[in-house]
Amino acid sequence: MHSASSEQEELKTTPLFGEHEILGARIVPFAGYKMPVQYPGGIIAEHLATRASAGLFDVSHMGQALLKGVDHATVAGFLETLIPADILTLKPGKQRYSQLLNADGGILDDLMVSRSADPGQDGTLTLVVNAATKEADFAHISAHLPAGITLERKESWALVALQGPKAEAVLADLGADVAAMGFMSVAVCTVGGIAARISRSGYTGEDGFELSVADGDVVALWRRLLADDRVRPVGLGARDSLRLEAGLCLYGHDIDTRTTPVEADLLWSIQKRRRESGGFPGAAVVQRQIRDGVERLRVGILPEGRVPARDGTEILAPDGTPLGVITSGGFGPSVNGPVAMGYIKKSHATPGAAVRLMVRGKPVEARVAAMPFVPHAYKR
């Protein structure tokens, strides 16, 4: 067996690192942090428990920040110069998914943007960005800040995700009144006596919540949530298999500076006004792609048989013509078989189209498939 040895650079830890060790997690380096890839019991059990009940994830390595201006129109107007989502019409208490774009329409990162429900907080947007890109993201935003708008990084905020069909009931039993929250809404609640900024969203395709709390409170929150029998801790391994089955992009694999939101099939995240008016980096490229179409598109791929097709696997037509490449692939525990996504020539980007994957030099037959592979269970 060969396993690549990891570089032991200066790795950071989240405030929950001690909890992961107590739970017997296997720790791996990820985005500059020592993170749990799995707990005893394994990735498949964690994945299935999240779909059936509730999984608890430490995502404190992600970047959180507040973007502040005098009022919503001012701060939203600024953010719209960096991302293609409509933030001006984002209602109080709502969240949107978007991407930081470069001048070519390439994706610098994907992120969540939310507007507080509290009128006293008007003019403040909350940003959550990926761990591996957070330094570059915040430097990029800071470099564009006009007078009167500030970016406040919140390195003292921890973040956990509680995902799965039992998540709402678990939080309700801890006194958090979240039943009225819809998918992609945000609220401030008390969970077991701990003040939390909650959003009803996640990265699993399940109903669920992300809870942002002060780093000094997160161990207590983590323990309180895990004290509920319906909740089990879930590491990065199952986080990846859950998001893959849900058809969600992983930055650095499925999207990066070489892909645009149109090629990545993320056009749903660019609202009508922004498509028409532009005003974001790379708008000319994105608008041209909307008008003229793209040469390649991100699609789901379902390999036949049992062999997983990983990131980097070549996609061919049945006659051997190169069509594209897999960007994420592995075993889907809920699908109980291999699942993948990748970029393919537009001419073949139709669900059901037959393709061939080259896995270790051997052909594996596959089909283009609609995503998600497992239906989303969001609370609409």
């Binding site: 067996m1 060969h2 296997r26 498949i44 391994g237 049992r306 062999v307 997983p308 075993f331």
Partner: protein, 125 residues
């Protein structure tokens, strides 16, 4: 009575007479996590010590398996196709990969026995 030998890459070969049973150690399966697929060599394939001879796919990654000795593959564990999790459940038993014959006995001397492998594992943590 068979004798078990281990490589530093955590393959084992359990030798009984002139046939060796090859698989991965319990430590290896623990490190890999849930096994979802094992790609085995074809019967009749002549393998060379240190060369890739199988691939184990876990949920998170594919890992190459290297031949512990020279030999010829005479049987593969076909039950792994429908039940790859037996590698996790019983790596040293039902989770074996393949059998080889025409083993070069001198190469076995270069591998670790149970005691040496246990000592080796102690140095890894």
């Amino acid at each position: 009575m068979s004798s078990v030998y281990y490589t530093k890459d955590h393959e084992y070969i359990s030798v009984d007479g002139d046939v060796g049973v090859v698989g991965i150690s319990d430590y290896a399966q623990e490190q890999l996590g849930d096994v979802v697929f094992v790609e085995l060599p074809e019967i009749g394939k002549v393998i060379k010590k240190g060369e890739e001879c199988a691939v184990v796919e876990s949920v998170k990654a594919a890992s190459e398996i290297y031949a512990p000795v020279d030999g010829e593959v005479v049987e593969i564990n076909e039950s792994l196709e429908g039940n790859p999790v037996s590698v996790n459940e019983d790596a040293m038993g039902a989770g074996w990969f393949f059998k080889v014959k025409n083993i070069d006995a001198a190469q076995l001397d270069g591998l670790m026995d149970e005691k040496a492998y246990a000592d080796y594992l102690m140095t890894l943590s």
